[in-house]
Amino acid sequence: MRKGLLWAPLALFALLVGFIVFGLVRPADHVIPSKMIGQPVPGFALPAALPGKPGLDSAALADGKPRLLNVFASWCLPCAAEAPVLMALKDKGVTIDAIAIRDRPDDLAAFLARWGDPFARIGADHDSRVQMAFGSSGVPESFVIDGRGIIRHQHVGPIREEDVPAILAALDGAR
């Protein structure tokens, strides 16, 4: 009994080493995936961010069609960078809805006029509450949502040219 106990410190240390090795070899990405993947979208109703374009609510995201939900803001530079890619996706027939984070209508209108407007609907999330409910921690972020309103895929950061196939595949899978 006593002899066995004497090995305990070494065993504990071995366990510790195991964790540390894991910490060393794990890819050093600091992306925090949303816990909402595989879950229905949280219930919400956001007012229109722009006059003349409808706002966004959870019911609109479960209308039977898969779609891309883009979380963005006019004050966000990477969002401008991904705008051409979103336009290209829209031209491929993808429905894109958006949530604008802490934005002003004037700024938003200027942003869309300058970089293009791929969005069917834009909801205004003034205090990031809906963004948080989606498990999104920054802008831009995009979610693939299937026809039943279930979140199928999350993309953190701007969608680049090379990310397009993955996004399209996720949309196909959500059909």
């Binding site: 410190p9 080493v17 964790f19 540390i20 060393l24």
Partner: protein, 740 residues
């Protein structure tokens, strides 16, 4: 030239460390005490397994010091004239404990397969017998020279920073010619390579000090200790030389450096890391002692008495380092908090907890011959925690505000060293601990019993902190989920344990050694307990506060009183210095606890957007916001707010918090302004301004917050007095023996 000289010194020191290790191992091997299973150096595999377990060798060493010389005498025939003087000494009785084993080293003549120098020593005609003794004699000077070389290398690095030698990569990356001199100096260790060099330097100097002053330890144990110390140093020299060369040149040299992180440009940086490192690495001596004693099967009272001052010294430094670091974070980060349970803070707390436990258990071993196995394990664990702490900070595995640049290659290198040293030491422990004799038994209600309680509770808190620190990593390893563990867990899990520990601390020193009566203890502790209850009632009457702070306040007063009780009815001038030390350190814990509880229960906080001319009330103060002016410092510019604080009808105090901007590298910092009063601190921070001419101001009134660090200072002072007392008593004992 300086960089090359430093690098050369480092290489030479590494070579000497290797020599020290080989020499130590061959000396031990000749004496037949080298371990059959790794001592962490990996060289043990060359040992024939039968040698270490020769019955005669074990017999000669297993006995207490007095038995040693006579056994030695009997086998001395082969030793020749060289052994003469020391054998003569050995007959004198107790003092022979050093001299005896020195000749005992020569018993086992087998195997002359040492390194070059050992062959040289062995070839002087006496054969291998005196060879071992000579090897042993050479190991001290070797350790000393190695320490001096490391110190020289470190001095070279400081010189490079002071001269702003921009041809050296490290200086370029972490310094700037415009920087104030203090920060040029401190910049030498405000980075990965420099701090590792400082780490190794302290390690080597500690080894050298052991070589210079340590006379209590039996010679084989000392040799094993210095060999272990060299083994550790060797690994970290290799790490420096192959993976973190601080002296690398940059060609062509840039015009100027990139500057030092402004958060680090604070007088605190000049002192905080060195003290902390002295503590961390000072524990390496305890580690090496433990390894040495396990190798030579020499765990006993002498070993404990020899180890105690080293542990105490390292512990004092750790205490000062943690206290200073806490205050530094408090005023420099501008968050108003004094402890954040950040992984790096935990990394410094864990060795402290282990060292505190070790400090108490080593006392049991020194005075009562108890807790042998446990003490040895704690000695191993304490330094292991230091190394793990250093590693976690360096590797970037845990996310922390303190993390230096992440480099997986460095991480793997240090991890390999950790596995070698900690794994090796723990394996040695598991193999050898069964041979450690049981100590003197004692009653649960006794001084020993209380100290065992202290040890268990400290270990439990250590476990709580360790689990909390590594839990995110563990969870991610198991199911990929990312999470962080914060103050709610630590406070809830460690807080109650700490309170129980503090309560026990009140009772422990009032108990007799070996056995005592519960009734007698109750009588002794009645008055402090009453004081606690009175505080509890008083606080409850005044204002309702959380359970932990409430218990903390109540315990603090009672424990403060109880900690003074050992002085009660004693002649204060004849009370030994180490008793004073204990009393003051324990009082310091109570004082610090009072500060923590008061801060968490009674702090008043205000966050306002104010225009110049506005007045804000916080705690007992009303603070008038006068305005904001731009000012310039030596290497920064700042916006400085002027606030005039007034309390009742007292004299006004002017506070000038700043938002500083550093151009090299471009960074903003918040310099809080603090008004310290006897009963607390007024703490103000200047935030951002808005378009309407309003400024964000953050103000705190923190009653008795200074007691947190005041208590820390008392704890360190107590440790220092205790150390002084021990050393002085030893000196007197030594002198007395010398006259006999």
């Amino acid at each position: 030239m300086i960089a090359e000289a430093g690098l050369a010194a480092l290489w030479l020191a590494a070579a000497l460390a290797a020599l020290q290790l080989v020499l130590g191992l061959s000396a031990l091997r000749k004496a037949g005490v080298a371990p059959g299973a790794g001592d962490g150096a990996g060289k043990a595999s060359r040992q024939p397994f039968s040698t270490p377990f020769l019955p005669s060798a074990v017999e000669a060493r297993a006995g207490p010091a007095i038995g040693g010389p006579s056994t030695t005498l009997g086998r001395n025939g082969r030793g020749g004239g060289h052994a003469g003087p020391s054998t003569a000494l050995g007959m004198g009785g107790d003092e022979g404990s050093q001299a005896g084993p020195l000749t005992a080293l020569g018993i086992d003549g087998g195997g002359g397969a040492g390194a070059g120098p050992s062959a040289a020593f062995g070839a002087d005609g006496d054969g291998q017998t005196s060879g071992a003794a000579a090897l042993g004699a050479a190991i001290r000077p070797l350790a000393i020279v190695q320490g001096l070389l490391a110190l020289f290398a470190f001095a070279c690095l400081i010189a490079l920073f002071v001269r702003s030698d921009m041809s050296v990569k490290l200086v370029v990356e972490n310094s700037h010619s415009m920087k104030p001199m203090l920060y040029k100096w401190a910049g030498a260790w405000g980075n990965h390579e420099g701090s590792m060099l400082m780490w190794v330097t302290i390690l080597a100097v500690a080894g050298a000090l052991v070589g210079v002053v340590e006379r209590r330890l039996r010679e084989p144990t000392l040799i094993a200790t210095l060999a272990a110390q060299a083994a550790i140093a060797l690994g970290f020299y290799a790490f420096l030389l192959f993976a973190s060369n601080p002296f690398a040149r940059l060609n062509p040299a840039p015009a100027d450096g990139m500057g030092l992180n402004p958060l680090l440009q604070d007088p605190g940086l000049a002192f905080h890391p060195p003290t902390l490192y002295l503590g961390y690495v000072g524990l390496s001596v305890a580690f090496s002692f433990a390894v040495g004693a396990l190798v030579t099967r020499d765990v006993g009272g002498d070993f404990a008495r020899a180890m105690r001052p080293w542990v105490l010294a390292a512990w004092i430094m750790l205490t000062i380092g943690i206290t200073a670091g806490s205050y530094w974070a408090y005023y420099e980060l501008g968050w108003g908090g004094w402890w954040f349970w950040d992984p790096v803070e935990n990394a410094s707390l864990m060795p402290w907890l282990a060292a505190t436990a070790l400090l108490h258990s080593v006392t049991v071993l020194a005075t009562r011959q108890g807790l042998r196995t446990w003490t040895v394990m704690l000695a191993v664990v304490a330094f292991s925690m230091s190394m793990i702490g250093t590693f976690l900070v360096r590797s970037g595995i845990l996310t922390s505000v303190h993390a230096f640049a992440v480099d997986p290659r460095r991480g793997s290198f240090i991890l390999a060293l950790l596995i070698l040293y900690i794994g090796g030491a723990l394996a040695l422990f598991a193999l050898r601990a069964p041979t450690i004799r049981e100590g003197t038994p004692f009653d649960p209600v006794s001084r020993e019993g209380a100290l065992v309680g202290n040890n268990l509770l400290l270990s439990a808190i250590l476990g709580v902190v360790l689990v909390g620190t590594l839990y995110p990593l563990g969870v991610e390893a198991v199911n990929g989920e990312k999470l962080s563990v914060g103050p709610p867990y630590f406070n809830a899990a460690a807080g109650p344990l700490a309170l129980i520990l503090v309560a026990l601390m009140a009772a422990g020193p009032l108990l007799r050694w070996r056995r005592d009566e519960l009734g007698a203890l109750a009588r002794r502790i009645a008055l402090p307990a009453l004081l606690s209850v009175a505080t509890l009632g008083a606080v409850l009457l005044v204002s309702p506060i959380g359970v932990l702070p409430l218990l903390g306040l109540a315990l603090a007063t009672g424990v403060g009183a109880a900690s003074l009780a050992p002085l009660w009815k004693r002649n204060l001038r004849r009370t030994p210095l180490f008793t004073w030390g204990m009393v003051i350190a324990h009082l310091g814990i109570a004082v610090s606890l009072f500060g923590m509880a008061s801060e968490s229960a009674f702090t008043k906080e205000k966050l306002v957007a104010a225009r110049p001319g506005d007045t804000v009330a916080v705690g007992p103060y009303s603070v008038r916001f006068v305005g904001v002016d731009p000012i310039a410092g030596p290497n920064w510019t700042a916006l400085e707010a002027t606030m005039v604080a007034r309390r009742d009808n007292g004299a006004p105090v002017t506070l000038k918090p700043q938002a500083r901007f550093f151009p090299n590298p471009p960074t903003e910092t918040n310099e809080s302004a603090i008004a310290t009063r006897l009963d607390g601190q007024l703490y103000v921070v200047l935030g951002k301004g808005d378009d309407d001419g309003r400024w964000q101001l953050r103000l705190w009134w923190k009653p008795f917050v200074t007691l947190i660090w005041g208590g820390g200072g008392l704890i360190a002072l107590g440790g220092a007095l205790s150390l002084l007392g021990r050393l002085r008593r030893e000196r007197t004992a030594h002198d007395r023996r010398a006259y006999l």
